[in-house]
């Protein structure tokens, strides 16, 4: 039973024919970690934003459906949709510095969501926040609750955002490049933490990243995107062992592996890009006529 089901989702830049997403379909089961990979501009972040209802104002959905926990999101009135999404899903953002308000202490930034969205009393929310900060291995949660973001390291700030994402026990979390701003040793700790929290809470995770190494460590399945279209959707094992699509193979060939320094590094060849663009154009035509 899939918890998140996206069917034929297309989106474009408002007022133009410029496509942002092209007929995207994917399913994520409860407790599954699904990776969205691709180069910049492939549309991977846009899928996460569409699910959370936070697409930029310049992007409009033209067709398709997003089903979250059995609710057809796009058919709900906007206020109802926001409430339902807020109660079911959460985001772990990319940049922990811009995602936290620099002029407010950490405590209220974690509890706000519980108080405002779930209507918890403040005292209960604060107890829960302290538990969560301890759960993401923050030493001395009491002190951190009273700190301002600038007093904490990048890794610490990302832990806080993970804690607040899990605070309201969401069933789906969208993690949008959550470790791109961190260095490798901290990245490893944070990825292990996300995996640990995800397993303990049984949350479904949509994991947006451009790093195939990260995908191989945290995801079970993935969708490879190019130009807003899913090129290949498969399990992580099959993707690395027997990638079916030419573009997937080209992406893997462009990724450096430190265990294999002699292997030549091949940028995605122009011929592959041409083939992918031809595939997309043919698909666009069939959509228009179908």
């Amino acid at each position: 039973m899939s918890f998140l089901k996206i069917t034929g989702l297309s989106a474009r830049l408002k007022g133009t024919a410029f496509p942002i997403l092209r007929d995207v379909s994917l399913e994520v089961a409860a407790g599954e970690v699904h990776g969205l990979v691709g180069e910049s501009g492939a549309g991977k972040s846009m899928i996460g934003k569409a699910v959370l209802g936070i697409l930029p104002a310049s992007v409009e959905i033209t067709r398709g459906a997003i089903e979250l926990d059995g609710m057809d999101l796009l058919s709900l009135p906007p206020a109802e949709r926001r409430r339902r999404i807020g109660a079911t899903a959460a985001l772990i953002p990319q940049d922990p510095l811009t995602a936290l308000n620099p002029s407010r202490r950490i405590g209220p930034q974690v509890t706000d969501r519980l108080v405002d969205i779930l209507g918890w009393p403040r005292a209960r929310a604060e107890t829960r926040a302290r538990e969560l900060l301890a759960e993401v291995h923050i030493p001395d949660p009491e002190r951190v609750m009273r700190s301002y973001p600038h007093e904490l390291s990048g890794g610490m700030r990302q832990r806080i955002l993970i804690a607040s994402a899990f605070a309201a026990e969401p069933k789906l979390i969208v993690a949008d490049e959550p470790t791109t701003a961190l260095d490798v040793t901290v990245q490893k700790q944070i990825l292990k933490l996300i995996a640990e929290m995800q397993a303990r809470h049984g949350t479904a995770l949509l994991f947006v990243t451009h790093d195939l190494g990260v995908v191989s460590k945290v995801c079970q399945s993935l969708s490879v995107l190019y130009g807003g279209k899913v090129m290949e959707a498969t399990t992580v094992r099959d993707f690395f062992r027997q990638p079916a699509h030419g573009y997937s193979r080209a992406l893997l060939a462009a990724t450096p592996k430190y265990t294999d320094p002699a292997a030549s590094l091949t940028p995605v060849p122009d011929a592959v890009i041409a083939a992918v663009q031809a595939e997309i154009a043919a698909h666009d035509r069939s959509l228009r006529h179908g």
């Binding site: 040793t185 990245q187 191989s216 460590k217 990724t255 450096p256 430190y258 590094l265």
Partner: protein, 266 residues
């Protein structure tokens, strides 16, 4: 082979403005602690470390964007540690820098041709237009790109403009500070292959700062590992990966997410 750079007991401290009292001067924070190494001509040196380890500060001290507080930096045998700006000016042509973010290091209101030409004119080169064209050819950008603005280019193309601007001056040394960390794997592969070719073709010496050991292994012949402002390991790349000596190097290696689902993290 002669050493192009020789860095001896380098110390660098900067005022810690977060701890500055209302009156009086800020306490100084020590960023580089007793750093010594030699960089032979023609070598590609990788500099790795976590954030805040001092790798960029070390690079900036080498090209004298920062003045060291102690120790010595010798470039081609000449002591450049405390030279003033006027004395550095003729040397600046010989050591160039490529920055991490081409969007903020290329003037958005200048065309690519102007961007590459500016330092050539500053250093008094005669045949500027010919050298601009030659630099574009070297980095594999079409000549008509000279008329474009940075925002009209992709990230990988912008980074090539940064490389073209640096090599147009025919420097002996280039400092590349995290120049591929903002790029997709495909553009990253292109830029790395390009840089590797240029080093051979133009006889450059390169210091390549990165937090990504996979990239370092691909490109560099020697690696410095920095931790909290000190060198914890200085080894040939092959040796460093085969038998890392410092505990911090092992930690860095263990943390790389290898693109392989069967290699699970401990």
């Amino acid at each position: 082979m002669a050493d192009l750079y020789s860095v001896e007991n380098l110390h660098l401290s900067l005022p810690d403005l977060t701890k500055k009292p209302l009156l009086g001067s800020a306490p100084r924070i020590e960023i580089l602690k007793d750093v010594s190494f030699a960089l032979p001509k023609g070598e590609i040196l990788g500099i790795v470390g976590g954030s805040g380890s001092g790798k960029s500060t070390l690079g900036r001290a080498m090209v004298r964007l920062l003045e060291p507080t102690g120790g010595k930096v010798l470039f081609g045998g000449q002591d450049i540690t405390h030279l003033d700006e006027a004395a550095l000016r003729p040397l600046r042509r010989r050591f160039q820098m490529i920055f991490q973010d081409p969007m903020s290091s290329l003037n958005p209101r200048h065309r690519v041709g102007q961007i590459i030409a500016a330092p050539l004119a500053l250093h008094g080169f005669a045949d500027v237009p010919a050298r601009v064209t030659e630099a574009l050819d070297h980095v594999g950008l079409p000549r008509h790109f000279a008329a474009r603005y940075p925002h009209e280019l992709s990230g990988g193309q912008r980074q090539r403009v940064g490389i073209a601007r640096a090599i147009a001056l025919r420097p002996e040394f280039i400092l590349a500070d995290e120049i591929v960390s903002g790029l997709d794997v495909s553009s990253q592969a292109q830029v790395l292959n390009l840089l590797e070719g240029l080093v051979k073709e133009l006889g450059l010496t390169l210091a390549f700062i990165s937090h990504d050991l996979s990239v370092i292994r691909r490109l560099c012949s020697r690696v410095l590992v920095l931790y909290r402002g000190a060198i914890v390991e200085n080894a040939a790349t092959a040796d460093l990966f085969a038998a890392p000596k410092a505990a911090y190097t092992r930690e860095l290696l263990d943390a790389i997410p290898l693109p392989d689902p069967d290699q699970l993290w401990a």
